[in-house]
Each structure stands twice: as structure tokens, then as C-alpha cells.
């Protein structure tokens, strides 16, 4: 696809513009890469904890039971039932969603329908409850009014649209 140019263009374009504006491109780059390493170290403990618990759920057969129980609802929405775990954890935990999503991408293959839909869902939705807690907690808001239903509608549409658009564009 011609969209392949986007990322190389962003990388090269950023470097060229930055150099023209007399930024020390290379030292900014390496210092940012160092910050990235701290991000990786910060998410690592959560990934170990959540991937262990998720693997236990799957091995015990609980995940199959959940998938089976929810499959009528998911089939109605056009979401593959295998994605039940991802849909449930997505609004609650960012690391959890990354753990479950990467498991789906690896199990079903990155270019499969489920792999792609999971990746698109991860890329276009957020950890709704966590975000609401952080923002309203910091601003000391007691009554959140319609913020939660509106944000959950966005999340719901994101989940359903991710699967619909995957089918539309790739299959």
C-alpha cells in the first residue's frame, strides 16, 4: 500500500525540519531513546504480572468458558468472540490490554482478521476508566455527570468499528 511512505516520511521529515531549525538532532534522538527505555522498564512489571494471570486463565479453560458465554453478544456486534478478554480489559488497564492484545496478535498471527482487529482496537481506544479516574481525581471532581456514559459510548463504537473496518478494508 502507498501508505507505506507515512512512517519513513515522518522520520526523515522530522530530522530534516529539526536540523534546519538548528536542533542537535542526534543528541535529542538518543536522549529520547533513553527515555523510551525507562518507559519499557516501567511497563515490564505490569506485563509480567498480567501475562502470567492471563496465561493461567487460558490454561484453566476459564477463558474458553468466557468466550463461549459471550459469543452470542459478540457475534451480534460483529466482534470475534476470541476478543472477549481484550474487550473486557481494554477500559480498565492499558498494560492488561497490551498483554492480551499481543497474545491475540501472536496466537492468531498479525495479518489475520483477529490479529488486525485487535491491533486496530488497541491503537484507536484508550483506558477509559483509568483516564477518567486520573483526570477527575486530579481536578477533585465529585460529580462526573455524563462523562462516563459518553466516554464508554466512544469506547464501544471504537471496538465495534475496529472489527467492521478490518473486515471492510482487508477481507
Amino acid at each position: 500500500m502507498s501508505f507505506g511512505i507515512i512512517v519513513p516520511l515522518i522520520i526523515a521529515g522530522t530530522a530534516a525540519v529539526a536540523l534546519m531549525r538548528k536542533t542537535d538532532v542526534y543528541s535529542s534522538l538518543t536522549s529520547g531513546i533513553g527515555d523510551g527505555l525507562r518507559v519499557v522498564l516501567r511497563i515490564f512489571p505490569a506485563l509480567v504480572a498480567l501475562l502470567s494471570a492471563y496465561a493461567m486463565l487460558r490454561a484453566s479453560g476459564a477463558l474458553d468458558a468466557l468466550t463461549h458465554a459471550l459469543s452470542p453478544v459478540f457475534a451480534f456486534l460483529g466482534v470475534p468472540p476470541e476478543m472477549a478478554g481484550l474487550v473486557l480489559i481494554r477500559p480498565l488497564s492499558g498494560s492488561g490490554a497490551l498483554a492480551v492484545g499481543s497474545d491475540l496478535i501472536n496466537t492468531h498471527g498479525p495479518d489475520s482478521m483477529i490479529g488486525r482487529a485487535s491491533a486496530i482496537m488497541l491503537g484507536s481506544t484508550e483506558t477509559t476508566f483509568y483516564t477518567i479516574a486520573v483526570y477527575f481525581g486530579a481536578a477533585k471532581i465529585k460529580r462526573t455527570r455524563y462523562a462516563i456514559p459518553a466516554a464508554l459510548t466512544a469506547e464501544f463504537i471504537g471496538i465495534v468499528a475496529a472489527c467492521a473496518i478490518t473486515k471492510l478494508l482487508f477481507y
Partner: protein, 191 residues
Amino acid sequence: MAMAWIWTIMVLVSLVFGVINGTIDAVGTAALEGAKSAVTLCLGIGGAICLWSGIMEVMRCSGLVAGLTRFLRHPLTALFPTAAKKPGALDALSLNVSANFLGLGNAATPAGIRAATLLKGEAQWANDDLCTLVVLNTASIQLIPATVCAVRAAAGAKNAFDILPAVWVTSILSVAAGLLTARFLRRIWRH
């Protein structure tokens, strides 16, 4: 504390289902296998997260983020009618949105919290602009979702970035749905 509950429920349910289904031996092994796959995942995506974080830092140092922030100020006044009257709120808002757009989570959250505090004023309830801010932040609009593309690349995708147009369309639909719902609910949900 929410995560404490989620994690404990996950392992307790695994224990119960393992005993009932007779899969308990596999459950113990799976715990260790899961931990191992977390290391594989981090090694697989760590380099890409670092590289992208480096590109973001170049964007920040060269003033590209500041440029986008200035550019977004005007359109954002349409979404946040009261922000212009509150000193500093519009700057914090546009920094929050542009940092989210570029995937700079570390810059987006403090700016968003500053915007939320400034938008709130004296009230203890969420006004319409504050609800809009939360909807914008819970429905991520991101140019390049670098982490998930890194997961795809590590899993051997033919083109890790071929999901980008689908991600953009999905994000726009999701944000639009959130904003429309907010617009509808604000009429019936008085404070």
C-alpha cells in the same frame, strides 16, 4: 486498588476452573510461560518503543510540537467554548491534544490535568468542557500507535503499519460518537 481486584479475580478464577476442569497442572506451568512471554514481548517491542520515543523527542526539541499546539488553539475554541475565558486553559488543552496526537503520553497527561483544573473553576461537578476533555482523552486520536505497530512487527507482520488508515478511521468514529453522545446528554443531564 482496581488492579489488585482484577489480578486477584483472574488468578482465583484460574484456580477454580483449573480444579473443576482438571487442568490445574497446566495452570501452574502457564503462569511461568506467561511470565516468559512478557520478557519476549518487551524484548520484541522495546527497541521500537525507544526509537519512537527518540523521534518524539526530536519533534519536541525542534519546536514541531509547539507548532502543532499553536495550530490547534483556534479549532479547539469551537469544542471548548469556555476555555478562551479561562487564562492558560486553551494552551494546556492544545498541548494535551497535540501531545496525544503524536503519542507523547508523558507530556499529554500533565497538560490534560492542568487543563482540567483550569476548566473546572470553583465547582465540584464536571462542566460541559470538562466532559468534552475527558471524552477526547478516552478516545485516543493518535497519528502513529507505535507500541501496537511494534507488537505487529515483532510478531512478523508483512507491513506493521498497514493498519494505520483503519486506526485513523476507527479513532475518528469513536471520538465522534463520544462527542455526539456528550452533546446529547448535556441537555438532559443537568447539574
